[in-house]
Symmetry: D2
Subunit: 401 residues, 4 copies
């Protein structure tokens, strides 16, 4: 998952405007929690998810640990216990609270966590005002903000999962997840050749986007838009979840073991599909992109449709050409590429980089971004990644041939 | 567990003073939650435990379902969804929310649950004022109050377990769990003979306490007080948890699988035993009764001490004789009697009695009462019961020979 | 399980005829394996069962460890590795091979195990011929033979389970498990009073049958025969496995988790019940006693039939009165008594008795005997015991009221 | 796993000499079982492994199902039950026996399975003698022989695993797994450029080796030999299994959950490493390649050594250049490439090809071959694959930079 790694910025970021960015990003996190009660913020729906309160605290812990502790004269922690409670790292920065028990932390309260945020915010801003925003400080603050943006997306995916378990179908925000229209599906063709993949080095990027390197692509075609709910419903109606020939063997075992027969938040009520979303339960929008499918479901759908999933290099190369819709903002798009280091990749030194690359196994790359991704956070070279069974993220399908 | 069964009152209860009892018991539940935040009240620490908010709602559901629905003219439910959310019964009264997911119910809020309580309370009291408190209504209200008292104990045991998982060692109430002194252990002897066991039928009782019947007891001896923390610590120091000869085979497997080497809430810090309790973390009181041990640990200690656990008949017979300390209020006392129906036991008819006796397998009877038991709730014939691995209840040890 | 405990003989056994008994019992075990291939003898169908070869070796290990090692001058083990491989005890006699991996022991071969048996047999017989059959030697040999008889029953239950997993429905012996006729069910009444329970002390017995002690029995009635297949089929046809009101709560969870809807070896083929047995697959005999039901199923059937299971004291007291059929040889009969020590029970000293009583928790007593029980092995005071979910033993149902 | 897929031959094979090949390969399988007892052949050590007897039967089922049923006039199955028992496929060819229960099939006996083999062999040879060895028949027989060779390797890996669980350390063959010498490790450099990967189409190959396609390789270096036991022992001595910084996050969780601290068959006895192999227990050979490591261990070693694992394209390109030792026959070599379809890959039609590609997820490619691989079976383009936790195969490590 993004928030668990890949935190080393390679780019130098100017101090100009950084304080404003900092205030805006930090404020946005608190705003995301505004529609939620204290209980909503404290509950953990599964080990893969975290409470919103924990996200609010952990992103603050990041600034306290990697910035204040290093740059603030006479640094003292806000609360020593928080060093352990809100650490998500392994040994590099000491002990951590077990992940599946984050929902047990009814103390500190949300109010105390907000006070923690305010204290750290003021102290970070004081550093910026001191004019000490040299390269490294600016770089680490930028990294902290990118890290916080990743957690902003997780706050939404985790809250959606939590609320979905409540038979009352609670509404997070009535205007959340607006439905987008989609045109006809066409296929865009790409000629074979050596292409360059990876980040060029201007602006912010994560280290897993580098080094920029060459790949040879055989000719391929890419769908101009994502698979829609209506198309996916046709797959279900055609018996897609009952016919093993469309499925990877592990995927077939997965859907049977988990008793899966539709995307995560679809509910069949009185014979019609409805979908739970952050705006509550609503009718399934036929033209909206299907979301919340596992890699297995994405691959099975592609197989049934006589197509396949793209590689991440195919996706990235195409993204630079124009002509493709819904590349960003509609859904993260599963690729057939397992998450692996680029040729020449080297982990950064120190605690922040200690575990770079440690998630590069048994996960698949997703490209694009979702309705939950903060504005400006993603880009053409951005690599998101999740295990094949993950369904609570805003994951969708773009076909290739 | 008490609250899961055994809810049929056999005794007729006078309507006089019932309204006052009702108000007092209902108020007490809300008071137990007073020191807790909304988050504290919403979290569920394990499938065996329930959130405090759920206890507050479920006890209200009981009055709404078994009393208002039956006796109130023009009855309409407070909220139809609550019928499912706060039902702990099986098919007799419809669907229920899965027990392990009670902690996911961040909605309805605590405030809404308290409004639910107030509405139901007012309507029950209106019934009483209408003078319709005939035998059956009074009987059901009395049963509802006894049921609520059982949940009052569970609210405390479940909160204690939840808070124990927090490294901050939160304090529920600074004056909770005061330490009681204990005298020297002596052995009281009992002659053989036929004795009568079970409730005589005056006042309130649960159906599992009946029928009163005869049992023959061979001669036996009972310890005049409970096993103390100091005595139990000596068992640990003597290698009690490392030597299989003291343990039931299943108990030995249990402590190894669960990595158990001390009572549930003991913590060894800097070489000294401390104990987490509702007043926070404190030094282990040597003379206080050991609590929060499983049946397996109680039996192993008894074996190590050259003694055994009493049967429930031995306990009940002795309880009528005087001369024994700490029979009530110090800890529930494991007996070697598996929870089984008394000769001639018959389940009550209807939804309330539908599952009487359905827990009478693979559980062991505990006698007495604990610091968490509401005043006046237990009695000499009272039968509590839990599985052999249960440790989060206030369970202790009285030896027999 | 019988073979895991309760191995201390309390009675003095005369040396006269002991050699003949020894030869007969030891030969019988080998004979039980005769219809089986080497593979049949080596496979382990589940952790609760053991390979036949292991039973043959373990019973021999018992004589080698507890008799030869103690009484044979210049004793040397047949093979030191066998001391570990065929030990079922805990620490008292050293390490043991993990139980679930007994089926992995393809070496030593069956032929080697038979050679082990022959060597130990010859040496034990030599001890007897030496005239040293004093009290303790005779007692231990008798205990070893009783122990072996328990394993003879397990050899049959374990082989039946193994073969049942093979879609070819292999036949162990065409004449195994002959069908017995049953008369009409009547109810025999017993008056209340103090009775004596437990072994009187003449002849061989296990220590768990003692001390003989007094119990008071309230009036009760016992069915004159066991529940038949036809009666049990009627319970199934009436929806017995789909209606929770008949079931203990844990039993209901059990049958749903294990997907159980009939006795273990029943197979519905082309709309008719057939039963797998040691003679292969055959039509269900309507008048034969139902077998291979768990405690949960026995209790649910009794509840559906408006009756209950007897206590072990009721069963034992009635067994002395005559008038009851199928008390022995038809099926082990579940009682509602959890397996517990009799008043005054004390474990024997030393390795053999080291763990007496260690199985006295979360198991229920079965009385009588089954078609697989060796002739003369059981008796009125005999206490068999298994956990509530055990189904692969020859377990049946006698009703009480 | 090889034997579970990838069975479609793309090449035309001449009928000349095919009968001789057939006889030789079929005879070799029986020979591999020769040192084993019936029990050895029947046992299944874990769900991932199969009994040797099952391998012998399943490879025969393949010829019966895909060749005799199609080409033999008046075809009748040897035994209809075998169609299910020895089927490893899903729906395409009917029901199958559950994989984890293969060890329960004590019937049919090994002798019956050998009779099955002889019958099918004679009938296949009769087809060849009939001169009907046209393209498709020859192609399918060739495929059946390649399939059988894959199972020959599995017979050895599965038997090694089974015998390793026996404390007696049984010897399969005293001359098995001879120790090979290894020279000094050097690094061979490769220049960047577009290379061709995949099979050219002459001779036999599996469909996953095609289509041949272009890849761009950045400059890289490859170790001239495999990592040795001595080198791996140095990693252990340096605390490699105790330091998370070397491990993929999932790998760290894996070795802690499984309590892994050395390669699968290493045993530390009296302070010195010994290794269980098919020749029994022997001293660890310092210069022999380390074997039986998971992907996680291979990656952790590489990280500790300041290197990485090669991609499969790097391996394949290098394999064509000469200068590299131990490419074949020493150990399968983990690559960092997840098992995925080559560009343009299309599954074959029909039952044989029904599930081509269905294993292409969450597995990693291994290149080369092992001491257990039949002569002539592997090649430069051959793609073996296993999940990251697999250790019972002959898996080793070649480093890259």
């Amino acid at each position: 998952m993004l928030a668990r790694s890949d935190l080393t910025a390679g780019a130098v970021v100017s101090g100009v405007g950084l304080a404003e960015q900092f205030v805006a990003v930090r404020r946005h996190s608190v705003g995301l929690a505004a529609p939620l009660s204290d209980e909503d913020c404290g509950a953990q729906s599964m080990p893969d998810a975290s409470p919103v309160k924990w996200h609010l605290a952990h992103t603050t812990w990041f600034f306290e640990t990697f910035i204040l502790e290093k740059f603030e004269p006479g640094f003292a922690p806000f609360d020593t216990a928080f060093r352990v409670l809100f650490n998500s790292y392994y040994n590099g920065v000491g002990e951590k609270h077990p992940r599946p028990r984050r929902g047990m932390l009814t103390r500190p309260s949300r109010a105390e966590v907000l006070a923690y945020r305010e204290s750290v915010d003021a102290r970070v801003l004081a550093l910026l005002e001191d004019g000490v925003a040299d390269g490294e400080l600016a770089e680490l603050i930028t990294l902290g903000l990118q890290h916080e943006q990743q957690h902003q997306e997780l706050m939404l995916t985790d809250v959606k999962h939590l609320l979905s378990l409540n038979p009352l179908f609670p509404v997070y925000r009535a205007d959340a997840e607006p439905v987008a229209a989609a045109g006809a599906l066409r296929w865009l063709e790409f000629a074979p050749g050596v292409v360059e993949i990876g980040h060029r080095g201007e602006g912010f990027y994560f280290d897993n986007e580098t080094p920029r390197h060459r790949q040879f692509l055989e000719p391929y075609r890419l769908a101009t838009r994502l698979v829609t709910n209506a198309e996916y419903a046709a797959f279900i109606d055609a018996g897609g979840y009952r016919e093993p020939c469309f499925w990877l063997a592990e995927g077939w075992d997965f859907i049977r073991a988990e008793d899966i027969s539709a995307p995560l938040y679809w509910r069949k009520i009185d014979g019609a599909w409805r979908e739970f979303c952050l705006a509550g339960l609503r009718d399934l929008a036929p033209d909206a992109p299907v979301r919340h499918v596992s890699y297995f479901e994405a691959a099975a759908y592609a197989s049934w449709a006589g197509a396949r999933l793209p590689t991440e290099a195919e996706w990235e190369h195409a993204a630079g050409t124009g002509g493709l819709a819904q590349m960003f903002g509609a859904a993260w798009q599963w690729t057939s590429s397992s998450y692996a280091p680029y040729p020449g990749f080297a982990a950064a030194a120190g605690a922040i980089g200690e575990y770079n690359g440690k998630f590069m196994v048994n996960q698949y790359v997703l490209r694009g971004s979702s309705p939950a991704t903060p504005a400006g956070h993603s880009r053409v070279t951005y690599r998101n990644f999740f295990p094949t069974g993950a369904r609570w993220q805003f994951t969708g399908i773009r076909l290739a041939m």
